[in-house]
Symmetry: C2
Subunit: 207 residues, 2 copies
């Protein structure tokens, strides 16, 4: 039953994302994607010109969703307080609260699958990933800089590295949780980073 436009395409993308998160991109065959999405060879290559094309679409969609999450959580964090330091802490805390759901829905992060297997065109596919990483850095860096203007922070503190450290913790925690087969590590690592942020930004926990 044709005539739906993007419905089949999205089914393929959904199935492919699940499989790639589970087994990696290289270990995911298009036949497996076709079977999982209950489509066909014809449908697949109608919507995607090649497997690499699917990979690019996958990364683009994932990165877009990632940035959407960033903005969404950032908005919620900014609504909690006027103090940028508290906003940063709240931002991490919100992810901490949802950590179990996040890690249950995704056993890994799509980025690593494509960063570590660059058989796809080196520049093209990594571009949305770089954009997403920079978006996270910039959004957090604004808040950290603002926090530094309000109250004194350690003078040799690398604010850019601190901003990146949230992403670093996410990726590292995904690997830790997957290696030890215990999703609780995501929550614990985020909680730790939140507490370290509270200390370095001198944010007192409220009742």
């Amino acid at each position: 039953m044709p005539r739906d436009g993007t419905a089949t395409r999205n089914r393929i993308l959904d199935s492919a994302e699940r499989l790639v998160l589970e087994h990696g991109f290289g270990a995911t065959s298009v036949d497996a994607v076709i079977a999982a999405s209950k489509s066909s060879k014809g449908a697949f290559f109608h919507h995607f010109s090649s497997k690499d094309d699917l990979g690019r679409a996958l990364v683009a969609r994932y990165a877009a969703a990632d940035i959407a999450h960033l903005e969404q959580y950032m908005a919620r964090a900014e609504a909690e307080s006027d103090d940028p330091a508290r906003q940063v802490v709240a931002f991490v805390r919100l992810f901490e609260e949802d950590a179990d759901d996040i890690v249950a829905a995704q056993p890994s992060c799509l980025y690593v699958s494509f960063i570590n297997e660059r058989q796809l065109d080196p520049e093209g596919a990594a571009e949305p990933i770089v954009a997403a990483i920079l978006a996270w850095r910039e959004r957090l860096l604004e808040l950290l800089r603002a926090a530094g203007e309000r109250s004194a922070l350690p003078p040799d503190l690398d604010l850019e590295a601190l901003a990146d450290h949230v992403f670093v913790t996410f990726e590292g925690a995904f690997i830790l949780a997957r290696s030890l087969q215990d999703g609780a590590h995501m929550r614990r690592q985020l909680r730790l980073v939140r507490m370290l942020l509270e200390q370095v930004l001198a944010v007192r926990a409220e009742a």
Copy 2:
């Protein structure tokens, strides 16, 4: 020219490690390994019963070297001071000092290639990885516990998570550095973690 025993095997392992670190395990063909190691099909399958067998050997060797590094740096850190808090900080600082060399020698961490592509027997191959992660945790945890006995630490501080956070930072920083194609991020992330540790463990920087 036969008659060397493990020389060929090690050449294969070295070449395979480089290729897998660069392209991932699934994207590395045994033909490519054979070509890179200047050996032959016969030699390869004489030393390894299958590609997965190579993978297991690769992980085992890598994890063993990883634990060796852990012990080596730990010994150097423990030689610097009697204060366990300072030892933890020194441990991270030593890696920080060598960060550029580490990331130059290895564009990534072997663990992620095998954690994210588990087409190899789920338990068998991951075992040395788990062992290495737990070794890092335990060694750091001893020091952190000892530090907690000497001076008061924040009561709700998750010491196990803090111990794991060093591994988490390593893995996350590898991904960040590779994504942004800038190896300096490893050093910066380690430096940041060292500073955060200094704060939470109340270790004053010395002249």
